[in-house]
Structures are given as C-alpha cells and as structure tokens.
Symmetry: C4
Amino acid sequence: MNIKKRVFVIIRPHKKNDVLSMVFDWVIVVLVLADILTTILDTLPQPERVILCFNILEIITVSIFTIEYCLRFWTADLLYFKSKPFKARFKHALTFLMIVDLLAIVPFYLQFIFPINIHVLRAFRLFRIFRLVKIKYYVKTLSHVGDVLRRKASQLFISSSILFILMVIASVLMYTAEHQSQPDVFENALSGLWWAVITLTTVGYGDIYPVTVLGKVIGSFFAIFSIGLIAIPTGIISAGFIENIQDGKSIHGKKKHFCPYCGENIDANPS
Amino acid sequence: MNIKKRVFVIIRPHKKNDVLSMVFDWVIVVLVLADILTTILDTLPQPERVILCFNILEIITVSIFTIEYCLRFWTADLLYFKSKPFKARFKHALTFLMIVDLLAIVPFYLQFIFPINIHVLRAFRLFRIFRLVKIKYYVKTLSHVGDVLRRKASQLFISSSILFILMVIASVLMYTAEHQSQPDVFENALSGLWWAVITLTTVGYGDIYPVTVLGKVIGSFFAIFSIGLIAIPTGIISAGFIENIQDGKSIHGKKKHFCPYCGENIDANPS
Amino acid sequence: MNIKKRVFVIIRPHKKNDVLSMVFDWVIVVLVLADILTTILDTLPQPERVILCFNILEIITVSIFTIEYCLRFWTADLLYFKSKPFKARFKHALTFLMIVDLLAIVPFYLQFIFPINIHVLRAFRLFRIFRLVKIKYYVKTLSHVGDVLRRKASQLFISSSILFILMVIASVLMYTAEHQSQPDVFENALSGLWWAVITLTTVGYGDIYPVTVLGKVIGSFFAIFSIGLIAIPTGIISAGFIENIQDGKSIHGKKKHFCPYCGENIDANPS
Amino acid sequence: MNIKKRVFVIIRPHKKNDVLSMVFDWVIVVLVLADILTTILDTLPQPERVILCFNILEIITVSIFTIEYCLRFWTADLLYFKSKPFKARFKHALTFLMIVDLLAIVPFYLQFIFPINIHVLRAFRLFRIFRLVKIKYYVKTLSHVGDVLRRKASQLFISSSILFILMVIASVLMYTAEHQSQPDVFENALSGLWWAVITLTTVGYGDIYPVTVLGKVIGSFFAIFSIGLIAIPTGIISAGFIENIQDGKSIHGKKKHFCPYCGENIDANPS
C-alpha cells in the first residue's frame, strides 16, 4: 500500500484494528470540541496567560485542520475512484462537509490580510462540529433519522410554508390592530412578524404582545393555531419513523457497495 | 381551439410544454409575493419616491388581478362543463379561492367611493397567497396533508371544543381566584379567557399570571393539562398520516376524471 | 306508552323523528351555553337593566335544570331496568353527569339559607357544559377519543407521576440553589414547585426564573427534560389512536344492546 | 424457611397473600412520601413544635431506611443466587436503587462528623421516591415505557446531541449579534447558551431576548427550529410505542425466569 492510500485510509472514519486511523479520528473530535469550548470561554473575561494559551491552541487547531483539509483534497481521487482525479477533487471540495471545513479555516488566514472582525467569522468554525460524524457509532442512527426527514421533506416543506404564510398574515393583522395603541412596540409590520414567530412557536418572551381587545382576539386565534403547527410536523415525522420501521426488512435486503481500499460502505455521502 | 378555450387553458395551473400558461402562472405568483412584501414594507417609514413606486405597483397589481378575476368568471362554464353557463359561473364565484380573489380587489375600488381606512381592508389581499397553489409541484403534497386533516376533522373538532370548554372554565375559575388580589390585571372573566388561551397554548407571555396560592394551584392544574391538549391533536394527526400511508395503494387504484380541454384532474377542487 | 316512559324518552338524547325530544335537547344546550355566557358577562360592569335580565335568566335556567334533574331521578328505573327502582335511582344519582347537575343547582338554593359568596360556587355550573353530549353528532367521536385515553390510562398515569416526581425534585433543587440570591422570589419550596410547573410545561411566564449559575444549570437540565415530558404522552396517545384504528374492525363486529323503550345503545355510559 | 429467607421475601415487592410483606412495602412508601413532604414543608416558616416533630420524623425515617439498606445488602446473595455471596452483595450495592438508598442515608450521618450544609445534601433523599416501584401495580407499565425509551435510546441520544450542537451554535451566534447592544444581558457566550436553552425548549421566560434586527433574525430561525426539536423526539417515541404494541405477542411468548424463593420474575432489574 503506497503512502497516498495509507493517508486516505487514516483520514476516513476508522476501520476496526487500524490504531493510527482511530487515533487520528479521536484527535480531530477532541480538537473540534476544544475549539468550540474555547470559542465560548473566549467571551468570558480571562487573565492574560489564559488568552495566550487560547491563541496557541487556535494556531495548532487551525494548522491541523488545514493539513487535514489538504490531505482530503489530495486523496479525493481515491474516494471517487471512477471519476478523473481533477474532477474527483472538485466534486469532493463541493460536498457539504468540505465547504464547512474550508469556512472553518479561511477566516483565520483572512485576518492577516484584511483588518476584519475575526469573532463574527469565527462562528463558522462551530460548524466543524459536523466532523463528529467521525464517531462511527452514531452515524448509522443519524442516517436513520436523516432518512425519515428526507423522505418527508416535501410534506415538511409544505407545513413550513403554511407556517410562513400564517406568520405573514398574522404579522400584518396584528400590526393593523395594535399599531395605534402601542406605536413603540408594534412599530411596523416587521415587529408584527417577530411577534408572530415568537407566538406561533409558543416561545412567548413577553417583550411584545397585544393589549387591545381586537389584538387579543387575533392573538388568541393564532396562539390556538400554534398547537396545530406543532401537531402537523410531529404527525408527519411520527408517520415517517413508523414507515421506516415497516420498510426495515426491505432496506436490509439492499445490496451495498464497499470501498476496495478501506472496506467502508460507499453508498453513504462521503465525509 | 377558440380564444375562450385558449384563455381557460392559460389561467388554469399550467400543463407541461405550454409556455404561455407557465409564464402566466409565474407572473401571478410573483405579483402575489410582491404585493405581500409591499404590504409589509409599506408600514416602514419610506422616502416619497418609494411610496410612489408602491402606489404604481399597487395599481398594476390590482388591475391584473381584476382582469384575471373577470377571465376566470367568464371561463367558468368550461370548468363546470356539465352545468349551464350561468349556474357554472355562479358556482365558481362562490368557491373559496374566487371569494378570496374578490375580497383582494374590491377594497381598492371602494376607497374611491367611501373614505375608508384602506389599510385594514388591504389585509384581505394577503389571502391571495393561496394562489400559490399555482405552483403545481406542491399541490399534491398539500392535498395529502389536507386529506389527513379532513379525515380527522371530527376528532380535531372535538379536541378543539374540549379545549374551548376548558378555557371557559379556566377563565371563570381564575377570575374568581385572582380578581381581588389583582383587580387591574384580572379585570373581568374576559381577562381570564386571555390568560387561559396564553397558558393552555403554552405561549406564556407573562403579562397576566396568578399571584395568589389558590390562583397558582388552579394555574398549575391547567398548565399541566396543556400537555394533554398538545398531545391529543398530535396523536390524532399522527394516526391520520399513518392511516393515509397504509391506504396509499387503494387510493392509487381509484379511477380519476380528467378535463377534456386541459388534461387536468378535475376530481380536485377547482382553483 | 305511559307518561313516565314518554318523559324518559324525551329527556334522553333524542331519537330521529321525535320532535319533542329534539326540542328538549336543544333547549337544554342553549340554556347551558346562555348560562355560561352570562357567567362571563356578569363579571363585566353592566347597566342595572342588564343585571335584572341576568337575574331573571338565572331563575328560569335554574328552575328548568331543577325540573330536569327531578325527572331524570324519577325515570332512572327505566334506564337501569334490571335493578330495583330505589337502587336504580341511587345508582343514577351517583353517575358523573348527575353529580355535576346537582352541584349546578344546589348553590342557587343555598344562598337563600346561608349568606355565602355565590360567585365562587357558581363556577360549578360551568361543568353543566358536559350536557352538550346531548348533541348526538359528537358523542361517537368523543367516545372514540375517550376510548384511547382510557386504554392508555395506566401509561399516562405513570407519565404523570414521573412528571410529578420530577417537579418535586426540581422544586427542592431550585429552591436550594436560588433561595439565597432571590429570597423574595424563591421564598420556599412551594415557589420552587410553581417554577417547576411553569417551566416543565414550557409555559414560562417569566415571573420566576433562576439567576445564579447553579440555578441556570439546574433550570436548563429541567427545561430540556420538558421536551421529553411532552414527547412521551404524545407518543403514548399516538400509539393509542393507531391501535384503535387497527382494532376498528373487531370493534364493529361487537354485539350491541339497545334500550327496549327508546332504541338507544345502552352499552355506553348513561347520561 | 429460615429467617434470612423470610426477611428477603418481606423486603422484596410483596406477593399476594403475604400480609407482612405488604405492610412493609406500604410503610416504606408512606415514609418516602412523608419524608418528601417534610422536605418541602421544612422550607416554610414553622413554629418550634413542628420543627421538633420534623426532626423526630427524620430520625425515625433515616433509622428505618438504614435498617432496610442493611437487610437488602445482607440478603443480596438470595437475589443473585448464582453468584458467590460476597460478589452478589457487591453487585447489588452498585445497582441504581441501592446507590440512591445509600445517598439518602449517608448525609444524615455525615452532619455529625463534618459541619456541612445538610439542606443541599438532603435533596438526594428525594430520589428515594424511586422506591415507589414497591407499588407493584405500576411496575409493569413503567417497564413498558422504559422499554420504549431504551429501544430508542440511540436515536434519542442523536436527537439530544443535535439539540446540544444547535444550542452551542445558537449561543455563539446570538452572543456575537447582541453583545454590543445589550452588554449586560448577553454578557458572554454562556448567557447566549441560557438564551438558547430557554428558546429551543420554547419556555421563553423573557429575561433574555434579542433586540437588534440581526439578533431577531437569528432568534426567529432557532425559534422555528424548536418545533422540529419537539417533533423529532416525539416521532421517535411514537414509533417506539407502536413497535412495542406490534411486538406484543412475541414478547408474551418469551420464557421467563422466576425466583425459587418468592416467585418473582427475576428477568427484571432487581430493586
């Protein structure tokens, strides 16, 4: 096995008995979690010495992530072994996880070129958390949950668009009803939209609510409607999970394709 | 094909390969969305020039909607080709979507006759959003969700009426318990009703809540009951979606009726 | 058919084609709704004349309810025609709906004997709303929903008791964590219990919430747990509704027993 | 039957017709409930005499709990009759209920040795409530609910971890968006995390919410996402309950193992 193949096997989610691959996976997982923890702790007032540690950790983390990204890009032709090398790399670079990885490392380098606010862009690094798919144990279950959501995508989209339509209608109606009584609170229809979101999701902070009789009548109507908005997607997803169980056997019967190098199932999305 | 038939085909949701019909559908969808966006933006303070643009857009939109309404009315006899022309038009004018369309255009003309507050009536135009059924892709899924709700309508109605009964009981009990301690907040049983709606839907703004021990006991009881009020409709709807999946095959076996002019399935509600 | 049997048929939910029975049912339904509406409107400031009307309406309503109660008691031996007359009446008087009816009329007479606050006791009259079962159309669906809840009663009871245990634990933990920082808000463990109810049901008024770090950690834990508390009963009830549909055919095959006098199904609870 | 076996039978959940065992079970249940009630009432201001009563009750309760714990430890070799006596006792001492029991009695003795705040540690005693499994009636149903949760554990874990990831992302994004406008409210990313928990669980106290436009856009996005966070676990649990019903027959067909001494089913977790 040449070096390229060996590197490919190591950066892919680990096979049993391949210690180096397993160590690599866990190093990445620990670095991602450490990076996220640092992002949170960085917002707390810290003594100078801790800030220095954080900066060193950031440099190490970004360096490792950069090397990892390059190795993934380099070995992409082994993943899509049917495509031509260039096309394979381009195809791989446009997968969700590779874009996330790129967004996670680019801001760090950009700050040396442009005087930008690194804190805002740093938030992108949070999405590296999806690299937790390295922990193989959960991937199968996650893809099971994903299957259900994908299968019911169009129904959930319809529900969401009804929710959106309702929110727009609610916002304009509530603005019309309340603007005169509370000109500062219901300043415009966008305030109404914020009210509609917070009410229809049943969060209800209490920073904005109707005070007139007409406003309370409209508010009551949409508040009651919010029950349906929770019930319908829940019903759709429940049905999806039950269908998935009933289809279980036929899925188990499917023929699967395995990578000739690492023994991984290559039907799933490459990560 | 004479002009009337051609117009009818164009204003109906488009068939594949009929470019004019497709263009018409998307023009309507874009106009509806633009109109709603304008309604929201109109509540924000805008420079004079933008207001002028909005007014011109409104005149154009209402004009097109008026022409569309007339064409729909005129071609109704092709939709209900079994009824007599007059009866067909009358029948079509009373369908939900046609009433919505009429309510969307009438207020615009009324303002020239009576000095009314156009903003309130303009809200009716929001309901034109139902014309998004033009986007054929979602109609099938939407009717699937609609089927489930229709099939479970009586059970959902019962749940709603239990919810309503509970709200009335809660409102009087809470008013009785809290009126003396908070005469300004729990002014009358209607304040209690507003409290009951906001609590039983778990929104909980925090503008009105019990402070006495008895009030808190009653409030706790109804708050716990709110879990059931979410759980029961969700259970009903879940069962509905699962039933729908299981009945899937028999539904697919149904014989369908298609319009001889446009090839549309005329079992569905005309839009 | 003698008078007693005729009265019995009239006061029972009506059969088709029995006009008098149908009129009687609707009179009761209208009176119950009018009585509830009056209870709510009575809390609003009203001119003297309206109060007089309300008082007259109350006297009429209570009189009719009293007569109805007596007739139901008198004809109970026809309902339970297998029991002895005295036992049948006693058995009927202890059914849920008969106790509700008694509680609805007794406070009115008590006010002439003792100088009590009639408003509090009047709330009992609200429960007469259960007489809406007169509207036969909904009884079947209601009993369907009731079946599901009864079938899953023990599982729902377990869920509720876990909810209750969690609330008690949460209340003591939160009281311990927050008492020192907010002695006025978390006065004692009962304040903690109120917090627990309002948080675990996701109502969240915002009158009481943790401010210390420990309190927020405990609060976060229980807030996340609240998702499970909604999900578990919903899952139980969903399963119940689905089971009910699947058992549908065997239920339809059951042999039913009908009253020899009115043709009513006497398997259901007498009302 | 020697004394040890007799004691073992008594402290285990009771068999029918064994009066002493039944009495013992109910004494424990009553003591646990009394102890929890005392813990709550202890936080209210009480007259001296009541405090004395509470202290006496505490001594009695802890004594009985201590004796019970010792007896359970002593008779553990009869429960795990296949293991060696020492190993059996050690194994039993590490079961969930035995650890809870130990944590419930240890703090009481610790206060005589170290000058610690007994109130905080006393909260552990609340968990003795799990001894309510003594009430055999509910054990079967509880284990049914437990089965469903165990069966779906990995899916629920995945949902929870997605929830956690979302909360972390939401907290950093919201902190970034709101810190400048509300430096006191969104002090650091941990405040953002508290906001995320309270919003994604739809509790919404209203102590912390976005005020800037960007913050409201992010807040709206996560508020709408909260619907999915309730819907997914509910769907999983619903599917679990339905699967459980469908597997019902095969479960009934399983061979069970009964204790040779008390006739209890020893497949269940020992308590």
